[in-house]
Symmetry: C2
Subunit: 82 residues, 2 copies
């Protein structure tokens, strides 16, 4: 199955809006190179950063989280049906 991380999702949304990493960084108030690190999955953001990036990409943060497919620890996004 396809793994959609925070970074890959962010990249997808960014490109969908025709933004460069640098432009997104400016809108987030974050560093140019840090956006690059996030997209490549080399950093795990705090929820404060999640909110900033979500705002910059005009998506609700819960929407952002909901669209992720990841394993953090023993959490499985798919197969978790309540």
């Amino acid at each position: 199955m396809e793994e959609r991380t925070f970074g890959s999702l962010m990249q997808e949304l960014r490109k969908g809006k025709g933004l460069s990493q640098e432009e997104l960084a400016f809108r987030c108030g974050l560093d140019r190179t840090y956006i690059s690190l996030l997209e490549r999955g080399l950093r795990v953001p705090t929820i404060a950063t999640l909110f900033k990036v979500s705002a910059a990409l005009t998506i609700r943060p819960e929407e952002f989280i909901a669209r992720m497919r990841v394993q953090f620890g023993n959490w499985q996004k798919d197969g978790s049906r309540e």
Copy 2:
């Protein structure tokens, strides 16, 4: 208006399940004192921690985020209607 932070929401859910901070910490694989810091708003968790805590409290992480009311930077939860 009522401000519901990550910490206060976590505390509410924890107490709702009748768990001590220590029991929750164990279920999350986090430190006892760190749970205390989170509840008092003295730390901002990474999204990895969000997923761990959500799993321990049997709530979907996007649900958790959705139930927060916070100002991170210039983000306003309420009044953001798209």
